[in-house]
Amino acid sequence: MKGGRLWWRPRLQWHVYMMEFWPSAVDNTVWGLAVPRGCLELITMGASIRKMMLFFSRMVIFSISNARYTYVHDQKYPSEDVDIHHVVSRRSNAKYLFVHASALLVLACALYLYVLKEKAISLVYYSLLFDIFLVNLLLGKPVKKESVVIMPAFGVQLETHYVSGKVIRYFVPIDKILKPVLIECVTPVTCYWTLSLIIRGESEMVLVFKNLRPPVKMLAYVWKALCAATDSKEETCTHAE
C-alpha cells in the first residue's frame, strides 16, 4: 500500500508541470484522471496548493461586448506567465432562422408541386440538394470562439473553436515574432481591421482572429498584450489613443 502511494506522487508532479506550460490542454477530464479524489491528502503544501487554488478560481476580470462579439480577457493565471484573450461570437439567431426558413420554404414548394401538380420527383431531390447547398453556403462552418494564449517565455498559441467542438491550434514561438501590427484591409466590397503577426523568415503574416474579424476596439487590447509580450514598442504615433 505504501509503495502504491509513492508511485502516484511522481505522476502527479508531472501533470502539474504539464498544466503549467500548456494551460490550453488542461480540462476537467485530465485533472480528474490525474488526481483521484482519495489522494488529495497526499499533495504537499506550498506551490502545488497555490497552483491548484489558481486553477480552480475562474475569475473573469475584463470583458467587452457588442451586438456580434464578446471579448473576454481571462485572468485565471498571472499575466506574466500566461495571458489568455477570447473573442466569442454571439450567435445571430435572425440569420440562422432566416436561412433555415428559406430552406424549408423551398422544400415545401417542391413538395407542393410534386404532390398536387404531379411534377417529377426529381424536383424534390434537386430542391433538397439546393437547400443543403444554401445552408452550407450561408452558415458555413460556424466558428464559436477564437482565442489567443500568450506565454511570454515560449510563444503565442492561436486557437479556433468551432460549434461542432473541433479545435484548431497554431503555435508561434516568441523568438519568431518580429512585431504585432494592426492593419486596415480593403476588399472590393468592405473594409475591416485585422491584427497580424509579422513572422521572422516568412513572407506572409499570421492573422489573429482570422475567422471572426472582431472590431478594432477589441483587437487593440490583444495588440497591447502582444506588444508587451514581444517587447515591441507600442507605436502610438500613427493613431490617437
Binding site: C185, P188, V189, C191, K217, C237, H239
Partner: protein, 444 residues
C-alpha cells in the same frame, strides 16, 4: 464679422486617376489634398488599385488613400458597374465620417458612381471637371448624357477655366450659378528658372506634350520646317511620346533637320524642369485645352510661351507672357517669329516671381474651401425632389435615370439591413505624436 467660425470639412476625393499614375488630374487632386490638410481639414482619397498597390496607404501629411481592389478596365478607368461600388463607398463614408464627397474628372467611372451613391445617401457632393468635350461625335454625346445624369443633383461644380465652365454648363445642364471657376496651380518651388540662361546666338524652342492628334502634333510637323527655314539659329527640343512621333521622325528625315530637331521621347515628370530650362521659348499646339498646366510650368521656369488660342488657354497667362496664334501652321510660325523678337526683353526670374503670385495651391485650396462651405449650406433634398430633377433630363433618359436612382435607393436600404451603419466602426484620426518625431530624428 457676422459669419460663423469656419467649419472643418471631412472630404472624400474620388477619381480613377491618382498617383502612382501621372497626369494633370493626379497632380491637381494631390496638391489640393495637401493644402486642404494644411488648412485643418481631413482628406481621404479613394481610387482603384494600381498593380500591386492595393489597400490603405498613407502619403505625406497623413493623407490617407484607399486603393480599392477594382481592376482598371480602359484608360485607367474602372468598369462601370453602377451598383458594384456602393458597398465599399458606403463603408468608407461611414467609417471616415465624411461630410463632402469631391469627384474629379468626367472620364472617371469611379467618380460618377461615387457621386451618384453619395447623393442617394444624402451627402454633399462637389465635382471638378478637368477637360473640354465636344458635342458632335458619338462618344461625346454619350459622355454628356452620363454627365447630365450624374450632375443633375450635384451640390456644386468646379471648372478650371471660364471656357471650361461654359462647356460644362452646356453639356450637363447645370445651373451656371452652381459652377465655380478655380484654376489649376503650379508647384513653383519645383519649377524654377536656371541661374543662368542658355546663352549664345542659338534660340531653343521646347515642346513637351504627348504626341497625339489632340495635342496638335500634326501642326508641329508643318511648323518646324518653316521656322527652321526662316531662322537658321533656331533649334527644337521635343519631349514626349505617342503615335504621332513617327510623323516627326519622317519630317526630320525629309528636311534633313537631324542636327536642329531633337526628339527626347517620354520625359519623366521629375526631369521636365531640366528640359524646360534648356530652352528659351515654350511651344504648345493643342487643338483643345481646358487649362493647360504645361504652360504654367514653362512660365514658372521663365520661358516665353507660344500657344494656340484654344479652350481656356487665353485665360492662363497675361499678354506679355504668352503669344497666341490660331491653330494654323502659318499663324503659329508668325507667332514664333514674334516671340523671337520679344525674347530680349524677357527676364526669367521676374516671370517666375509673377507666376508664384498668380498661381499657387494654397489659393486654390482656399477657394475650394469656399465651395465646400457653399455646398454644406445647400438644403437637403428628399428622393422625390431629386427624381423630379432627373425626370427633366430627357423624354426616355429621364425615366431611365429615375429608375436607376430608385433601384440605388432600394439597394442602399438593403445594405442598411445587411450591415447596419452602427456595425461599421469609425476609424480613429491619425496623429503624429512627438515620440514619433523623436524616433525619426534618432534614426536619421
Amino acid at each position: 464679422m457676422g459669419d460663423s467660425p469656419p467649419q472643418k470639412h471631412r472630404i472624400l476625393m474620388v477619381s480613377d486617376f491618382y498617383y502612382p499614375n501621372f497626369g494633370g488630374v493626379e497632380n491637381h487632386a494631390y496638391y489640393l489634398s495637401q493644402c486642404l490638410l494644411k488648412l485643418g481639414h481631413k482628406v481621404v482619397v479613394v481610387t482603384h488599385a494600381y498593380g500591386n498597390r492595393s489597400g490603405v496607404r498613407y502619403m505625406t501629411g497623413s493623407l490617407k488613400v484607399y486603393y480599392v481592389p477594382w481592376r482598371p478596365f480602359c484608360n485607367q478607368s474602372t468598369f462601370p458597374t453602377l451598383y458594384g461600388i456602393l458597398p465599399i463607398i458606403r463603408t468608407i463614408l461611414i467609417r471616415e465620417r465624411i461630410t463632402v464627397v469631391h469627384g474629379h474628372q468626367t472620364f472617371s467611372t469611379l467618380c460618377h458612381d461615387a457621386l451618384l451613391h453619395a447623393r442617394i445617401m444624402g451627402y454633399k457632393v462637389v465635382f471638378t471637371d478637368h477637360s473640354l468635350h465636344g458635342f458632335g461625335d458619338v462618344g461625346s454625346i454619350h459622355m454628356n448624357k452620363v454627365m447630365q445624369f450624374t450632375l443633375a443633383d450635384v451640390s456644386q461644380a468646379i471648372c478650371v477655366s471660364h471656357t471650361s465652365k461654359e462647356n460644362t454648363v452646356l453639356r450637363s445642364g447645370l445651373a451656371p450659378e452652381k459652377v465655380f471657376v478655380i484654376p489649376n496651380a503650379v508647384d513653383t518651388a519645383m519649377f524654377k528658372p536656371a541661374l543662368e540662361r542658355p546663352g549664345g546666338l542659338e534660340i531653343v524652342v521646347v515642346v513637351i506634350s504627348r504626341l497625339v492628334y489632340r495635342k496638335g502634333a500634326d501642326l508641329l510637323v508643318e511648323v518646324i520646317p518653316e521656322v527652321c527655314r526662316l531662322h537658321p539659329n533656331v533649334r527644337f527640343i521635343i519631349g514626349g511620346d505617342g503615335p504621332k512621333r513617327v510623323r516627326l521622325e519622317e519630317m526630320r528625315e525629309k528636311h534633313s533637320l537631324f542636327d536642329r530637331v531633337e526628339l527626347l521621347g517620354a520625359v519623366p515628370h521629375a526631369q521636365v524642369r531640366s528640359v524646360l530650362i534648356s530652352g528659351h521659348i515654350f511651344l504648345t499646339c493643342s487643338l483643345t485645352e481646358a487649362f493647360c498646366m504645361a504652360i504654367l510650368e514653362a512660365a514658372s521656369c521663365g520661358l516665353l510661351t507660344v500657344s494656340t488660342r484654344v479652350g481656356g488657354v487665353p485665360e492662363v497667362l497675361p499678354d506679355d507672357m504668352i503669344v497666341l496664334a490660331e491653330p494654323d501652321p502659318g499663324d503659329i510660325v508668325q507667332a514664333i517669329q514674334k516671340a523671337i523678337y520679344m525674347l530680349p526683353e524677357i527676364d526669367p526670374q521676374v516671370m517666375h516671381n509673377r507666376m508664384r503670385e498668380l498661381y499657387n495651391w494654397r489659393d486654390v485650396a482656399k477657394r475650394t474651401e469656399i465651395v465646400y462651405d457653399r455646398a454644406s449650406k445647400c438644403p437637403n433634398q428628399s428622393l422625390l425632389e431629386s427624381l423630379s430633377r432627373y425626370l427633366s433630363c430627357g423624354a426616355w433618359a429621364g425615366k431611365l435615370f429615375s429608375l436607376v436612382m430608385i433601384l440605388g435607393f432600394l439597394f442602399w436600404h438593403l445594405l442598411e439591413l445587411w450591415q447596419p451603419a452602427d456595425d461599421i466602426e469609425e476609424v480613429p484620426d491619425v496623429i503624429f505624436s512627438h515620440n514619433c518625431d523623436e524616433e525619426m530624428l534618432q534614426k536619421s
